[in-house]
Symmetry: D2
Subunit: 333 residues, 4 copies
């Protein structure tokens, strides 16, 4: 029985709590939040769980084996570090940390203590991403050409981070999960309109082998868009996460090109065939992830969304942030 | 009666010919193309019009007042220059020229000769763009925040240019028409996958007053997208050119922000109200533009899509091309 | 403080319980279901509420003021009758009863006992239906021409009723709420394919003043559709309940007709103007209805969705059922 | 060389003319229309073709082998009859004739004269219908459950017929082409709002083997809908003719039902699998049909869309019209 404590019961915490609650092999033991109103909601939803406004109660309790850190990003490092120092496994909300240095320190600490770090890259547990990864692993798309994601909506404005740190971690963690090539250079542009934090941002990531990724994040869009295009040599794919039923569509479309002696002899032919929307697993991603967290602890296995995965995302965010501040300067990673 | 000759009867030329044909005050006199097959099609569609494979026949004919240059971009300069030297007004397919220097030389030549240059920025004559411009001029959107366009589809690959020069002129000319601020810096990223020409490209354009524009062009997308988001302080707008009926949607959505003493006191409130899709004029854009071309010649007026407008677009393209070749280096314009 | 007991904790009961729970002025006192598994779920969600498998405990408890009957339709009459006889107000799941005679008996009994009947026509409490009713009351649509609803999806098959009794009550109650004219004749067609219950059905309802309503319900559709068209003399409206944001669209479209001396002189002109999607209230319909139920009891007011409203729907269902069994025979109502 | 004359150059005639023009083995010889304006348009589009306002010129010309009758339905019989009497094959615009008796007389006359009748059921030549028919012939859908079509838009109002005769022939001819079972009973409801012609109508057609068809046609809809659902035991299909690329979607969805001893033991399980959008042939339907018309004449073959097919549609229209006038009375066919 893994006893779990949760620190942070704001926007995302209740979902975490609901999914750990009643999970076989797991006991939701304690919930912590600084806000009395949040604690009241926690108590109402989970009458049997101890609530507290003092994070140290969770971090030092001998009755807790693992701590979920579901707080603003600038607090992740201190909370996760203390949890690890007190011998607790940690699940950390994305993005893992504010800096690469912090992430590296936590990874090292966990290694020393033989503890597990999992970073909450929830999207990796959705049926859509799992299906796309299967398709890529089965080489259904062929050599990958590009990854292009648009993630825009109105709000949610964060006080402590810009739109890059708020929305791009989703895309970066998915990209990291799907693309085996290594990122090479990051270029980010964007603008702030309402305060000092950028509310629109555009990222390009060059990879070593002519794969290119592009991410468009925006807090000021009147319409919500969650669409990712993946182009490959054999097939192309559109993932629209707002579709109820057909989230992933695989197109038997592409280009065949036959070079002649010079560029003007190019013979380009378009291929346009069937479209296919595979059935997507419907299970709640957060429930699957909670199950995986408990299982990895019990079996002493390293999760694929471990600290190293979190670090790779933070590296890209840090590079993107630097690029953004210098109006698109190319930053190597 | 303005007598018009057309050079180039490939993909776009037939539309030009059809729209000049039968236009009151205009006579479609000659069509030129190097390809016998294209000339055969021209003859079938316009039995009464002289066809020729020799551009000089059009350029030097005493019976022609204006020449439409509807050929690959690398030929625009020579053809337009000769036409102007022979005293003919010119309508030049977008993009105007291959270089800024060429555009400037043509503009100067036309001024000396008291001839008119019009650049075929067809989208400026669509009901959608006209309506958006009206809304901006009436300050319906308020202070502009961003312009974000996605223009992707499968093909059409060009032998002589990359996706930037093929698709982005549409967005750049529309942006130039709608945004009164001046572009400041251009950053372009992209990648080629099939030959030496980039088939995906992403542009960011910084303007002086915190307006930011972003353009996503892609020849390798399995789905066709033609969507532009415009965010403003008062209202936000989505233009989906693929919608049959409701191309432009205006959202009474936005953010109100009240700053406190420090950044953590920010009070952000979202505004979410009605959506409104104004009726869009249905007339064929190319017909409206053809009419405007003839009228401007007759009235000796300078069109808004004149050589200077064409030059502004070429300047941005040239800067974007430089940026693209240097992996996103910021280029001032 | 109104003390509420719920009978039936299957598909719809949990939503009812959740919305009465914690409602000011209301106490959720007891939940009854015959299934031990349902009671286990009830207990988990509402630890403080008494659960029982014996409906009579709820129906006769002196500590209960109102009973929500959320059971299969063939049980409504007996349960509601006993509740009323025991002096309790009732909220009855739609459709109200299996027969017109039952509905009339319950209405009379409630009148004698000075008790309230509310029928759970939940859709009447949605933002969309409220907005449409406002538009009609403000005469925004003009004289109504037709009401045409499509409500199709895969499943949910019911053992005890056909698709007509399962899905059409939604449309009939909405239609009853929106259209002031009285229904005149009902014609229903349909077919069963898997067992004796019809799984597709089509209803036409003629009204006195040339309004016509049509309802298409289907349990065997691969795609889910929830779309209602309302045509009026001035404006037309589309309500797509599956749209996240723009559920109701009002079109300034229509037909102007000028009659000449004979039918061949008709001068028809189409009007096509702006489209407008008014902001729709987002509150959960069931919560609003629960609030209204408690308020009506406290203020001793008659709800608009009272037994008489439930009876009108059952009359139409009974007529439609007769018509369906006789392959579309016109049945007067 | 088959020499074709066209009578009627209004809405549909120009498309017919354009597709016969230049078709190998065919010569477009004459175009007739009563309207001088229509003849002017015909002359402009086809300078080499003789135009006339006198139908008899076409009907009696020794230089014409086949006549396309593209006129209002009430004129079809007389024109087609005269054409046949003069030894000419006929292509008749849908619906074939105004009455069953007329259709039967024309069929008999053609048989006597060894001439061909083709009825212009254009949709049967679209890539979408051809693909659906292939799927049905390959038993991909399994036993057919229902056919449900919605064909609504604003206008086009006809002076001489109601919405049933205007729009339903499309669906009836497609249904006739796809469903091998024989129609049994027709029930039609509807209403007129602007003049004496019904502008909305709803048809149900019962077939012998529990297949049911339903057709919703409406001239007063603010939105255009062209959607047909086909439900089968194995698979279900949605044909949305307004989709640019994925017109036909095949769903691996359905219901498996296992009956127990009584109805309450029914075990219903839903099947929900992949969706698949087969590539649809893009050729213009009217061009394919024109080709087929010429080929059938040359090879002396009977087309599948012959007079008998036209008659089957007229029989259903006549029955539906009778049913409509008697408010949904069931009419056997």
């Amino acid at each position: 029985m893994i006893r779990v404590g949760i620190i942070g019961y704001g926007y995302w915490g209740p979902g975490i709590a609901r999914n750990f609650h009643g999970l076989p092999g797991c006991e939701l033991s304690m919930i912590c939040d600084k806000s009395p109103e949040s604690l009241r909601r926690a108590k109402q939803a989970h009458p049997a769980v101890t609530v507290t406004c003092d994070a140290n109660e969770v971090l030092t309790s001998p009755n807790i084996d693992a701590v979920a850190v579901i707080t603003p990003v600038w607090t992740h490092f201190e909370l996760a570090k203390t949890a690890l120092q007190n011998g607790k496994h940690v699940l950390v909300e994305k993005p893992f940390t504010s800096t690469v240095a912090q992430a590296e320190e936590l990874i090292e600490l966990a290694a020393q203590k033989h503890l597990m770090i999992m970073v909450d890259h929830t999207f990796l547990f959705t049926g859509a991403v799992k299906k796309i990864r299967q398709l890529i692993e089965a080489d259904a798309l062929g050599k990958l050409y590009y990854y292009d994601s648009t993630r825009v909506n109105l709000g949610l404005f964060q006080h402590d981070v810009n739109v890059l740190w708020d929305l791009a971690p989703h895309d970066l963690s998915i990209m990291d999960h799907l693309i085996s090539a290594k990122p090479d250079v990051v270029i980010a542009t964007g603008q702030s309109h309402l305060n000092c934090h950028e509310d629109v941002a555009y990222l390009t990531i060059y990879f070593g082998n002519s794969v290119i990724a592009h991410i468009n994040v925006n807090w000021l869009s009147p319409v919500k868009v969650r669409t990712t295009l993946l182009g490959g040599e054999k097939k192309m794919l559109v993932w629209n996460d707002l579709e109820a039923d057909e989230k992933v569509k695989v197109y038997d479309k592409g280009v065949d090109i036959k070079g002649g002696e010079n560029v003007y002899d190019l013979l380009v032919s378009y291929r346009s065939g069937d479209m296919w929307a595979p059935k997507i697993e419907q299970a709640e991603a957060l429930r699957v992830e909670a199950r995986y967290f408990i299982d990895c602890i019990e079996k002493q296995e390293t999760p694929f969304n471990d600290g190293a995965a979190g670090l790779r995302v933070v590296k890209l965010l840090e590079a993107a942030e630097r690029s953004l501040k210098e109006r698109g300067k190319a930053i190597s990673v």
